[in-house]
């Protein structure tokens, strides 16, 4: 137990040192070198976080049955590399994100512009996939007014000290916030104005982003619907569909892929997703898009290491795999 606490403290201290001191330096280096060093740190974490690595690899194999053992290992290693590179992305948001803009290509911008021409705003449907916060900042600085609906993880992770919360606000949130049209719309329990604030942004023909793969909060569980996700069932909140129907805003999907050199990224924006049919069917189409993005780049999805998140998503492995997720090794917060 004591060892576990010490290890957690050391990991936490390493994370603080990396985000607070190392990543800002890496972000000022030539990109090839900065991201290379970030990958080395990712490799080190991959080797040293045995439980997290094991959970990531097992989840990858359980939910993406087509992955071989070596492919799962490779994807898990990339997961750690991507997490390290994300810090460099955030640090490159300085000077109106110019240093990052050079590395992020936006594909499908014409879909976004055509959708905005309708004058009802656009809902950009994302997932916790890739370096989406930074990529959306790049989109905003390219002239598209972006507002995000979402909760900062550090605000509700249990067991975090006040210092840690302040640190993540200083090192991460404030840099991202700077590149948004409006303050982040945070859907906490009891904040009933969330959807109306989003509608207000849409009414001004802005782009509102929302991640649809977040585990529902207890207060939202009654609204969650059963959808096919990664070959199994998941319980997710279809708020995006209701928001689209009430406001008339088109829904476009967006995914962020990191290239093989780890420094270049592509932000892909789709054509509008049809919202016809019942809510579950329309939402299912959005979730299917997220599933296919994850299959295309498994290492980009943030939830792989966490059995708790899989439980909260109501996901159990597809029938062809018999190992229950609950038996996997729990990861410390």
């Amino acid at each position: 137990m004591a060892d576990g606490r010490v290890a957690r403290l050391l990991r936490s201290a390493e994370g603080v040192a990396y985000w607070g001191a190392v990543a800002p330096v890496l972000a000022r280096m030539p990109a090839a070198l900065g991201y290379r060093i970030a990958c080395w740190r990712g490799d080190w974490l991959y080797r040293s976080h045995a439980a997290k690595r094991a959970n990531t690899e097992r989840h990858l194999r359980l939910f993406l049955g087509e992955l071989s053992r070596s492919a799962a290992r490779h994807a898990a290693r990339d997961w750690f590399r991507f997490a390290s590179c994300e810090a460099v992305d955030v640090m490159r948001l300085r000077h109106r994100a110019r240093p990052l803009r050079r590395l992020v290509e936006i594909e499908g911008r014409e879909h976004l512009e055509a959708a905005r021409a309708g004058g009802k705003g656009v809902i950009l449907c994302c997932a916790h996939f890739g370096s989406y916060n930074s990529a959306l900042s790049v989109l905003h600085t390219s002239g598209v007014p972006v507002t995000t609906i979402g909760r900062w993880q550090y605000k509700y992770t249990a067991g975090m000290s006040r210092f840690e919360r302040r640190f993540w606000d200083w090192v991460l949130a404030r840099r991202v916030r700077r590149h948004r049209q409006r303050p982040m719309i945070e859907p906490w329990p009891g904040r009933i104005e969330v959807a109306a604030l989003a509608a207000s942004a849409l009414r001004d023909n802005e782009v509102v982003t929302i991640s649809i793969d977040a585990p529902p909060l207890d207060a939202d569980k009654a609204r969650a619907v059963d959808v096919r996700f990664l070959g199994t069932h998941a319980r997710l909140v279809p708020g995006v569909v209701t928001l689209a129907r009430l406001t008339g805003a088109p829904v476009l999907m967006c995914s962020v892929y990191r290239s093989a050199d780890y420094r270049h990224q592509v932000l892909e924006i789709s054509a509008p997703v049809p919202m016809a049919g019942d809510t579950a069917a329309a939402f299912g189409r959005c979730v299917a898009e997220v599933s296919s993005a994850i299959r295309r780049s498994p290492a980009s999805w943030v939830y792989w290491p966490s059995p708790v998140d899989f439980d909260n998503l109501g996901m159990t492995p597809p029938n062809r795999y018999t190992t229950p997720v609950r038996r996997l090794i729990p990861v410390g917060v």
């Binding site: 904040r191 959807a195 109306a196």
Partner: protein
Amino acid sequence: METVINDYVSRELVQDQSLLPLADDTSLLETGILDSLGLLKLVVFLEERFGISMGDTDLLPENFASVNAICDYVRAREPGRTEATNG
């Protein structure tokens, strides 16, 4: 106005039938009748039905606490009332 709003809330927002008939002073927040998307539906309805326009600063829980509170709010925002207030 109370009847119109009560009918709308009862028909469109109340999921738990045991809460019906809905009293005008029933708390819409404490009973869980009004959630985020429910508020948006209600805002769209009030804007269309009563010709008012709501800004971000109007989205306060106290304005939507009950049917009575909504009516008070709408009355204060109705075009005729605004002109009268402006003199």
